[in-house]
């Protein structure tokens, strides 16, 4: 405990100054963006005027959460190889998004993936289903980020958990309410540059120590770590084959079902720019995960036997999630420590802003404008609802962050990906490519996938035993996607081929026109807006 207090008193002005500078700059941008937020197109997709490179960086900012940066480096620090399983899983979805989803999605939609799922089907029930899928994904992800933020700020800045969660919640609401997608995009951009720079510096210092000889670095880590050579092979993260495959499926296909990521494809002028931004994002994200892997191994080498960063039991001060931050301190002194702390905080802030916008726009665009008002709303009215929805999403996120204070962060991110893979991805993919699909099939697939994923998690040990205190779990595995994603595809198939309703005829007849537009871009939303 003494060491913990010493660590807190070591906290220097660098972290606070850099963080306040980040807040000041992003609030300035929000003020600037607020004057450009006149139409729903501005609010949801920044007028489609973001360049491919900017969007690639912004996707990186959206995708690389604090859970990746702190969580994966912490996982590598604890057990070596296992951290790589997450890092790889987070990247392999991108070639799929590139080859199957990006272009048709951009050609068919306007603001979000519900536009695509409802293109030829009965739009109202489909939008209700799609927005529930979006909101479920968004809230799981938000809980993970809020809890991570609270814990991090508690350790780094000495603020109580509650006020840390409130600060994050209020700032993200300000960005989205006043600046919409334009402000959110710039928050992502700045954060992406900061986090890539910070991680590069730490990884460079680690490699510099080993004269850029990777083998020496790994050898030194093996010699230092209590598990020895075991850190070079799969460890205890995945206890059984089913869990391994289930997590793998969730991570790979979940990427293609994350609403806040899919929304970013509409901020660029056309499908070509959307593809280019995916390529840029994949490059930056892959580079980042390689850095995080090096940082994790660096933490093993430099922290494992360094009493400055260990508690009485030999664990890291503030938990294993602090590995990257402590390593920055050990290698770069107080300046780098302060810088990386501030970067970690801004990382969370940027991700929650993107999530809040995705969740709130699902309420204002899908539920309010298209379902409740049956498309008879004005831009002004819809933006007003977007702002109210943002406040609601933000408040709920703060409350959930407080309720789930002790929930495992990595698990919640895994769950968000599992819902994305089970509820959103199957509907998006089949609605684009399968002619015989009908409204009934889409609804069955979306709801079965969502309820299946959430239901299996409730029946698993994490909720059934740990929260509800039942004796044994009904569902013996940790991750649901291996079961819930095929369930969704099966439901889409079965309830479509057996559908003989009159609506089914309309749905199937609509495919050809949709197919032509998705493949050629003829008739696509072009974003040459008149201001």
């Amino acid at each position: 405990m003494d060491k913990f207090i010493t660590a807190l008193s070591n906290l220097n002005g660098t972290a606070v100054i850099i963080f306040l500078a980040f807040v000041a700059v992003t609030l300035g941008i929000t003020h600037w963006a607020s004057r450009h937020m006149k139409t729903t197109n501005d609010a949801y997709s920044a007028g489609g005027q973001i360049t491919a490179f900017q969007n690639g960086l912004a996707i990186t900012g959206d995708y690389v959460s604090a859970a990746s940066f702190l969580g994966i480096s912490g996982l590598v620090y604890m057990s070596g190889f296992d951290g790589l399983i997450y890092a790889v899983g987070f990247l392999v979805g991108w070639p799929l998004v590139m080859a199957l989803i990006a272009e048709p999605l951009r050609n068919l939609g306007k603001y979000n993936f519900s536009d695509v799922a409802s293109y030829r089907f009965n739009p109202h029930p489909i939008r209700v289903m799609a927005s529930f899928g979006s909101l479920a994904t968004v809230f799981c992800y938000l809980i993970a980020q809020m809890v991570g933020a609270g814990k991090l700020i508690e350790v780094l800045f000495g603020l109580p958990y509650l006020s840390a969660v409130m600060i994050v919640g209020v700032l993200m609401m300000v960005y989205v309410v006043f600046g919409g997608m334009l402000a959110t995009t710039w928050v992502q951009l700045i954060k992406a540059v900061l986090v890539l720079f910070g991680a590069s510096v730490i990884a460079f210092l680690v490699l510099f120590h080993f004269h850029f000889n990777f083998n020496d670095m790994f050898a030194s880590a093996v010699d230092t770590h209590s598990k020895g050579l075991a850190i070079m092979s799969p460890g205890t993260l995945l206890k059984d084959p089913v869990s391994a495959m289930s997590l793998g499926i969730g991570l790979m296909f979940g990427t293609a079902g994350l609403p806040h990521i899919l929304m970013r494809f509409f901020t660029v002028p056309d499908a070509q720019a959307a593809k280019k931004s995916i390529f840029i994002a994949t490059g930056f994200i892959g580079y980042f995960y390689a850095l995080v892997f090096i940082i994790g191994f660096g933490a093993i080498v430099f922290l494992t036997k360094n009493p400055d960063f260990l508690d009485d039991k030999g664990g890291l001060l503030g938990g294993s999630n602090m590995a990257a931050v402590h390593l920055a301190h050990a290698l770069g002194g107080n300046v780098l420590y302060g810088f990386v702390s501030a970067v970690a905080f801004s990382t969370i802030l940027a991700v929650v802003a993107g999530l809040t916008l995705a969740g709130a726009s699902s309420i204002s665009h899908d539920l309010y404008a298209n379902v409740f008002r049956r498309e008879s709303t004005s831009d002004k009215g819809e933006i007003k609802v977007l702002r109210i929805a943002t406040l609601a999403v933000g408040l709920i996120a703060i409350i959930l962050g407080i309720i789930f204070e002790n929930q495992n962060v990595a698990f919640m991110v895994g769950l968000a990906f599992a819902i994305g893979a089970s509820a959103n991805f199957p509907v998006i993919l089949t609605s684009i490519y399968w002619k015989k699909m009908t409204t009934r099939g889409a609804l069955a697939g979306g709801w079965f996938g969502l309820i299946g994923a959430v239901g299996l998690v409730i029946l698993s040990k994490t909720v059934w035993v740990d929260i509800f205190h039942f004796e044994t779990a009904v569902f013996p595995y940790e991750y649901p996607a291996l079961f819930s994603m095929p369930l969704s595809f099966l439901a889409i198939w079965f309830f479509s081929i057996t559908d003989n309703s009159s609506r089914a005829l309309v749905d199937r007849a609509g495919f050809d026109a949709q197919y032509v537009r998705s493949q050629t871009g003829i008739g696509a939303s072009t974003n040459t807006v008149n201001h």
Binding site: F81, A230, M232, S233, A244, G283
Partner: protein, 105 residues
């Protein structure tokens, strides 16, 4: 979002040689990308699931295991495949797309 195309023109586009070629060319590009990354990733996951000791073996007299090489290789493969798709789809696929647009738009 306004479409002034009549159903007849959808039919015309669908039956045009340019459009049919576009679909073939795109498929030749997207299916191998999807197949490669899915097979490579699930081979990796299945090895973790069923025979983790294989991945733990070190190569030569170094300390770096096969699993680490394969994992980092998958990161590179993902990047390479997105690059490949972007690069190649800017060639023939983009030309055919333009041809369809010129003819019907």
């Amino acid at each position: 979002m306004t479409s002034n195309k009549t159903p007849a023109s959808t039919e015309q586009i669908l039956n045009s040689t340019e459009f049919k070629q576009l679909i073939v060319e795109r498929r030749k590009l997207s299916l191998p990308v999807v197949f490669t990354i899915t097979v490579a990733y699930f081979a990796f996951i299945l090895m973790i699931a069923f025979d983790p000791s294989v991945l733990g073996q070190t190569i030569g007299d170094g300390k770096v295991s096969i699993g680490i090489y394969l994992g980092l290789g998958l990161l590179l493969l993902s990047f390479f495949l997105t690059y490949l798709y972007l690069r190649l789809s800017n060639g023939k696929v983009a030309e055919l797309q333009q041809a369809v647009r010129n003819k019907f738009q």
